[in-house]
Each structure stands twice: as C-alpha cells, then as structure tokens.
Assembly symmetry: C2
Homo-oligomer: 354 residues x 2
C-alpha cells in the first residue's frame, strides 16, 4: 500500500535498506561503499548493485558523527565580486580535488561581524581545516579559530601575526615597491585613489607602505580620494577626472585596485592625456580585466593562484598527517610588478621636456 513499485522516494533510504536488499549486514554495506576492509568480490558486487538500484546516497551527517571525521575545509573570503577571490578559490579547489577534502565557501562582505557569524556557522560543522582571508579578525573570531583545534591558514596578507599558518604577500612591501618604481621612473606629483579603507586592511597596508616609501624620499601624496561601495570603471573614471581637475600638477595616480585604475585609464584616453608620458597610472592585482585592450595598466600580481595552492597544500598535508609539522608555517610570496603601458621604465627622456 505505502510502498510504490520503484522510485518515488518515501522515506529517505538508509544503510539498512541496502543491507536488506542485498542480504548482508549494514556493516558490510558500509564497508563496500567506503571501500574499506575486506569484502569478497561477490558480496561487493551484490551490494553495489542493490545500492545503485535503490539510488542510495550515503548520509554524511551520520558518517561524520560516527567517525569524527569531516572532510570539509572552510574557506572564508570577503567577497565574490572581486575576481581575485574566485581565482584563489579555483586554485584551492584544484588542490583539494586530489584529496578527499572539499572546500566550503563563506563570504563576509568585509564585515568583521559577518566574519564572526560565518566562522561560527562553519566551525559548527566541524571542518578539518580553515582557510581565511586576512590577518585581522575580531577577538571572538581569533578565539574560535584557536579553540577549534584544526589547521588554520590565513591567506593574502603577511603583515601581522598569524594564528597558525599564513600564505600571502606583504601589502606594505607591495605599496613600497610600487612607490619606488614610480619614483625611479621620475614621477613626483603622486596622487592616490582608494577604496573603503577601514575595512579593507590590505588596501590600507598598501597605502601605508606606499606613503612610507614616498616619505623616505621626501615626497608626499599630492592628492587623494577615497570612496566606499563597490569598485567600478565608472567610479575610477570620475574620481580621476576630479583629481586631475583639482590638482592639475599630478603626474601619477596610484589606485587601490585595477578596476578603478582601468576606469582612470579610460578617462585619460578619452581626455587625450599622454600616458605614461604626462601621467602615469598603476593599479593592483593584475586582474586581466582588459587583457585585449590596447593599453595595459601597470599593476602588481599578488600570486593569488600560488596563494590558494599553497594554502590548500598546507591544509591537505596537515589533515593527512596528524597535524604535527607544517603547523605555524609562514610563507611570504613576492609580488611582481608589471609595468604594462602606463608606467614608463625610466625618467622621461626627450619626449616629455623636464
């Protein structure tokens, strides 16, 4: 009466259903499905057939509870809108795909309270490891991470003290490097256009490193402007126009990311400004936003694929082995400048008089 002939899925299937269908114990079915322990070929075949026929899907909830093992890795990032993070994620997935581990993504929107909440949710699933962007977390978040007793890798940034391991670049150094390259190229009147500072610590650190390097040579930012809300070409465009109008002497604009940087570049092209002669531009992150464009923006690559890969490798290694070595590993990668077509290599020679 209640049992339909084939599919209609009344009550979810359990090991018991498969065991009854194949005439062996639940334990044996479990062994077959996990490929663990010795099972005769004939039994194995019988069980697999029955499982397939029923359409049985194991219940990981029960499995995880019983085995005290959860093959999930929490990956916590600020945003999916900035292509950098999907790219890091892709690199992480590629590594984890070769292990039994599986990434689970949480997004914080750059808000510490969201981060805390997301982290709490994630940890309540008892993942095998955590990969989390940034070194700045609320005290509660830090306490949770420390207390979780699982490997934690903080990524993207190395300017600070990690809870456990970290993989990333020094954004202060990145800012300094860019400042030095700019000054070496002979630019002197430098402006900065940046994002919602208080929450994006890495952008802030780049800015700090940048101004610090300028100061060392006795220079100061000539003009600057900050905004909040998401980055967009339009925003970069209008901000650039405003800055150039307000401070016509500016000969270089450093942007906190490529998106607004490209916006600025578009403005310059439209306005007929000589780039990189009269004005130089640089962004950050080497987003191949305009890879087919005639002029490539100077930028800096943070090695996000490698960051993702290394982070995932650390987690994988530590989960496999019993959490011993590799704990507290600190990997600082070197950002690489790409001059593109908006940052000249040396002080303007003949084509731009003094």
């Amino acid at each position: 009466m209640t049992d339909e002939p084939h599919k209609p899925a009344k009550r979810p299937l359990t090991l018991r259903d498969v065991s009854e269908a194949s005439g062996v114990s639940e334990m044996t079915v479990s062994r077959v499905l996990r490929n663990r322990g010795d099972v005769s070929d004939s039994t194995r075949a019988r069980v697999l057939t029955a499982a397939k026929e029923l359409g049985y899907v194991p219940n990981k909830i029960a499995g995880a509870l019983a085995s005290q093992r959860v093959n999930l890795v929490a990956v916590i990032i600020p945003s999916l809108g900035n292509m950098v993070f999907p790219q890091v994620l892709t690199a992480i997935s590629e590594v984890l795909d070769q292990t039994p581990l599986q990434p689970v993504v949480g997004v914080t929107n750059y808000l510490p309270e969201r981060e805390e909440k997301v982290l709490y949710e994630m940890l309540s699933w008892r993942p095998s490891g955590v990969i989390i962007a940034g070194l700045e977390h609320s005290d509660a978040s830090k306490a949770m991470l420390r207390g979780a007793g699982i490997p934690v890798v903080e990524i993207m940034d190395t300017d600070g003290t990690p809870i456990d391991s970290m993989v990333g670049i020094s954004h202060r150094r990145a800012g300094r490097m860019m400042a030095e390259a700019i000054m070496k190229a002979g630019y002197r009147k430098i402006a900065f256009l940046g994002t919602k500072m208080p929450l994006d610590h890495r952008a802030r650190k780049r800015f700090e490193g940048f101004t610090e390097a300028l100061a060392k040579k006795g220079l100061e930012i000539v003009d600057q402007e900050f905004y909040d809300g998401g980055s967009s070409l339009a925003k970069g465009r209008e901000m650039t126009a405003r800055v150039l109008e307000r401070s016509p002497e500016v000969d270089f604009v450093y942007y906190s990311n490529d998106k607004i940087g490209v916006g600025g570049l578009l403005h310059c092209l439209d306005a007929g400004i000589d780039v990189p002669g009269r004005l130089g531009l640089a962004g950050f992150n080497n987003i191949s936003l305009l890879d087919g464009f005639s002029k490539r923006l100077a930028t800096m690559d943070s090695g996000r694929e490698e960051i993702g890969r290394r982070a995932a490798e650390i987690i994988a290694a530590r989960v496999e082995a019993g959490s011993d070595e590799m704990a507290g590993e600190r990997i600082e990668l070197s950002p690489t400048i790409s001059r593109g077509d908006t940052l000249r290599a040396r002080p303007a020679g003949g084509d731009y008089p003094e």
Copy 2:
C-alpha cells in the same frame, strides 16, 4: 594535569562540558542554546555565560542527525569565473540570509560528470533544497534529484522540462529577440561568434533561437566561429578580426557573451570601424564589464538577480511550509534588450548608404 587553566582546547567541547560547567542537564543547555522551550531566565543566563566562557560551538553534525533537519541549500553552478554566477549567488544569499537556511556552493565547470559528482556529494549532506543551473542533467543526476525528496529549483533556463520548479528565461526566445532587433535595425549580413557549444546549453539555445528567427526572414548566418576555453577580451578581439577579414561583407556580429563581445568592440574601435553604422555588435548577459567605457555594447539582461531571488524564495517557502504548494512552479522571466551604442534603433538613414 591534562587540564590547562583556560583556552588550549584539548578535546572538542560538547554539551556535556557546558552542562557540567553550569550545573544543569545537557538537555537544558541545548534548549537555551537553541532558544526553544521554556527555561528560566536565571538558568538561561548561567548557561549562556558558561558557554561563552568555554567558547563552546555547537556541533551541527550531531544536531542535524538528531533533528533530521539540515539548514543547507545546495547551489550548483557551472563556474565562478563568469561573473553572472557570483551575482546569482549573491541574490540567493540575500534572500536566505533572512531565513535559517544557508547556501553551499558547488561548481561543475560545465561538465556533466562533475555535476553528477558534486550533486552526489551535496546530497549526501542531506540539504533542505537544491538550486541548480540548467535543465540538462545526466540521467543519474536527474534520478538523484527526483529521489532526494526535497525541493529542487532549476535556474537560468526555461527551455525544457524541469524536475520540479524552474526560474529563468527562455534562451531560444532571447536569441530570437536579438535576431529580430538586429534585422529590424536593417542589418543583413550577420555573423555569430560563440563559446564551447556542446556544454553550454544556454548559449546553444540562444544560437538556435537566433538562427531560427533569421531563417523566418529568409536570412542565414553569413559567418561563424566557435572556440573553447574561457572567454576573454583578447579572444573576442582576434576572432572578430578574423571574421571581418574572411567575410568583409558582414555588418553585424552577435556574440555568445559580453566578454568576447567587448573584445570585438575594442577591435572595431582600434580598426576605426564605424559602429554601429558600418557594423553592429551585440553580446549577452549585461555584464557591466565596461560600464565606464565610452561605447556600451548592446546586450541582453537575463535578470539574474531576480532569478536568484525567486529561486531562493521558492526554496525558503517550501522548506518553511511542508513542501506542499509552490511545488512545480515555473517562472519564465523576460529578458530585456539594451541597445547600448552598438546596435542602432532603425535602418541606417543617411549616414550609411543603403
């Protein structure tokens, strides 16, 4: 001996630890932590203090197993590299944020076998619902979805029969609409540039609708080119150059997405081609890739925010109520054309002879 004074997290905490610390039963702690059932204020306070002090994080694995409820919604998409999907995801998250449900993302890379695997993994966590892109799935995948006994919403596409509910647009219609708009504007020699066809069913359907509408007016695609691998501006650029060289008579190029479309636009600008007079261009998806750019590409918006929102709402409603009504709901949204600056509104008047 084994117990450190404060934090060091030996063995993961359980309800029992909190119950001992606060002198009540585990059951009461559970009630307090879930805010369910009657507990006196004094007890509640005592328990909360103890929990906070210990840094207790509930174990959802155990909770889910016991309560037979898992507040996860599986969201399965083909890629994170195409910004459309992060955007759909964001819309889904916004809706689910106001419910106890939580999205969990799986990425298939457009591969049916990956989809099958990802789906299997997801279902083994016994989620409360599934949101999955597309209507094309392997038989095994369909069987799993049907057998899971949970609400399933297939999104993005409505050209086909859903397993349960669906929310999206008809890509055939989208292709037709664009073809009609193009023909009405007087273009006649139309070329098509597309992505890896066999796997991207929606792009294929747009193409089919497109050619069908052309055929109805006695027109045929003049030239076409397909490629595989990810979309990029550079690819759109070079493909466009190739097509125009091979078939100089072409007066319109329809792209399967905005990214290669914008690449084509860049080529035309560089080559000094009169757009949209001599040549018209259109893409798909209204990616605000170049929102700050001087010329906006004609494109079509599929309403991805609304798709995500409606899909999440269906799941939320059905999980909340007992899976009754709203089952099998089919929502077809209307794509909207945006002409941008690369598709003229009417046949060329004086500025382009006949």
